[in-house]
Amino acid sequence: MSNILIKNGRVIDPSQGMDRVSNVLIEDGRISAYDVKVEEKPINGSMRLIDATGKIVAPGLIDMHVHLREPGREEDETIRSGTAAALAGGFTSIVCTPNTNPPMDSQGTVQFVQRQAAEADNCNVYPMACISKNRAGEELAEMGTLVEAGAVAFSDESSPVANSELMRRALEYLLMFDKPVLNHPQVAELTADGVMHEGLVSMVLALPGIPAEAEDVMTGRDISLAESTGGKIHMMHLSTAGSIDMIRRAKTRGVRVTAEVCPHHFSLTDETLRSFDSNFKMNPPLRDSDHLDACIAGLTDGTIDVIASDHAPHAVEKKMRELDQAPFGAISLETSLALVITNLIQPGHLDWMTALEKMTINPAQILGIAKGTLQIGSDADVTIIDPENIWTVDPEKFYSKSRNSPFIGKSLTGRAETVIVAGRVKFERGS
């Protein structure tokens, strides 16, 4: 394994509160030193020099909400293509969701995913396992065994746990493994046939709505259950002002609740559905500007801990359908970082330190994984970001197998330029 010296970059590591220009030395796959003088290190076959002048050197980014689709829906994405997309987006570690076929409710499926990820040898892949057997919401999956196999979190993902008693049991049971429950808070009775956010636009377009209160009602329930059990709950892809405010208040009471927001929810509104383009159909839906502003306010004041992409690939033919028949979701691994820079950092909603915190150390701490830091001795997962690169989203250039991005044709600023996983350069953007 060759060693790497990253020269003259602006190192921003929220885990250490570090923000300064430095030279970072990577040896034997780990961060070994700062402020190393270039002339003291021979640059040869076993030492590579990367000039990061004008660039940001960050801990490898973590995306804790990624649909890799394998096993079961390899026409949408494979573990190989999805992890390649992750690298291109600047992510060195991702958490993959268990709504596969078969679902990740047993050791065997978790191990299959791990093996495929190891063979692909792109980024680190951490499995999220099911809360309930077959994601049916009836009885608990074998969580202890799943933790042993490597599951870092539990969720029934797109099938929110409707049964409050089961959710309570899951929170209680996971106390002894100190793993979080991740829930997609949404009450099914309020969203039947829903296609988009319920509001003025859905009224005009006559598309069935997904009201904000569908998210609020279950968020309230989950906070109550976390509060009474002492369990760890993480709310996935929050999209409403109401749910974010409930999280804010719960945190002041000390409830062990964390929350994430997706880039599309702080970038786009339901107005986009006027195009009837199914690339704007997601769940939770794109909401109106008041909710969008609430997402940004939650990110700014720290209520929202994590930015996660909810990368949801769907093959072209599935999205080329009537809006009610097209599936929910958008690919986002390759646009997530640029949207954070373009729509949060550039307008001044977040500074670099806070933005990167939500994409590195915060998800690492929620998941209990030793990632998201550039402390000396830690795994050398590093993302070098060009903060000035202005680029246009071109579907032909996606590493993902799917093309369902709502940002096609958009001009964005900032991009991962070099991505290092455990001391090996896994991605370099060609000029």
């Binding site: 039947a192 509001g199 003025l200 377009l205 006559a206 195009s275 009837f276 080329m320 359908r321 009610d324």
Partner: protein, 320 residues
């Protein structure tokens, strides 16, 4: 006998649309162009009874993914009155069962040298998607509960024939606004032409949000009735509702059916309209539906005139 095209004016320069997908995106001038053209077609064909060689050598395909009798026949007859050939394709639900997407179905129909596709589909926005994916002109014959532009136009043409001008008139749309494509097309068209629009019906089917678009919202028909110049009585769309939005049909009829008693309290010259099919006894009683104020059958004739006009305009814009 058949009339020649030169009896109809050439397409106005300002008309550039090769599709008619909704009324929301049309300008006042464009709506007026369609209404004027429909009026001239109606006159030149003596009430749409005769043919005119405006679209000979053209083919119009009716692509109906949702059940329809009257709209499909109206478009079909309108095309034939213009001298066009027609292709009929209907499939309830969609071609999903055969594994084909509706876009593929449309492309297959288009490959038969079709100039205009008339599409009805249960999903909002389907005509818009089609227009982006095929070369020929697309006319919406109703996309689910979203819009039914030719229905809106024929309703407006009917009012205009009886009143001359829409500006200043008060038009109430009564019934299931939430699920009504007729309501949406009427709202856009009527507002653009200067009418005051009231939407009236049960609060579960009439959103307060319509006020944000300049529409008056009312839940009590008797309160607004004395002010109305036109009542358009919409059918309750039982088939589009997930849970029943009111306790019983009986209660609905008590609150909203236009009957003889209510007619006593209406303006002397009120126009009673209904897009059909009508549920007699639910939204309107037979004495009113068949009474002297009813223009329901005028609407049917005007449907032909409007569809002839739209077919001719979009086909002409595409060729220009």
């Amino acid at each position: 006998m058949s009339f020649e095209l030169d009896e109809i004016d050439v397409i106005p320069e300002s008309w550039t649309r090769s599709h008619l997908l909704d009324l929301e995106s049309l300008s006042t001038e464009e709506i007026t162009t369609i209404l004027d053209t429909a009026g001239r077609f109606k006159e030149a064909t003596h009430g749409c009874k005769q043919k005119i060689d405006a679209l000979s050598d053209h083919t119009v395909a009716n692509l109906f993914f949702e059940n329809s009798t009257r709209t499909r026949n109206s478009f079909s007859l309108a095309a034939r009155r213009l001298g066009a050939d027609t292709i009929e394709f209907s499939s309830s639900g969609s071609s999903l069962s055969k594994g084909e997407t509706f876009i593929d179905t449309a492309k297959n129909i288009e490959a038969m040298n079709v100039d205009v596709v008339v599409v009805r589909h249960a999903t909002p926005g389907t005509p818009h998607l089609l227009a982006q994916n095929i070369e020929c002109s697309v006319i919406s014959a109703g996309d689910g509960p979203h819009e039914h532009p030719t229905q809106g136009l024929l309703d407006i043409l009917t009012i205009r024939e009886h009143r001359g001008n829409l500006a200043g008139l008060t038009v109430a749309l009564v019934g299931d606004i939430a699920h009504s494509r007729t309501a949406r097309s009427n709202i856009w068209g009527l507002r653009k032409l200067g009418a005051h629009v009231i939407v009236c019906g049960p609060s579960t089917l009439v959103s307060r949000r319509w006020e944000e678009l300049g529409v008056e919202v009312a839940y009590n028909l008797d309160d607004i009735l004395p002010r109305c110049d036109v009542l358009n009585l919409l059918r309750i769309q039982f088939e589009r509702q997930y849970t029943r939005p009111f306790p019983s049909v009986r209660e609905y009829a008590l609150l909203y059916a236009m009957n003889g008693d209510r007619m006593q309290r209406a303006k002397d010259d009120i126009l009673i309209m209904a897009p059909g099919p009508i549920n007699r006894g639910v939204e309107v009683t037979p004495d009113v539906a068949d009474g002297p104020h009813s223009v329901i059958l005028d609407q049917v004739t005007n449907g032909l005139a409007v569809r002839m006009a739209v077919l001719w305009l979009v086909a002409g814009a595409r060729e220009r």
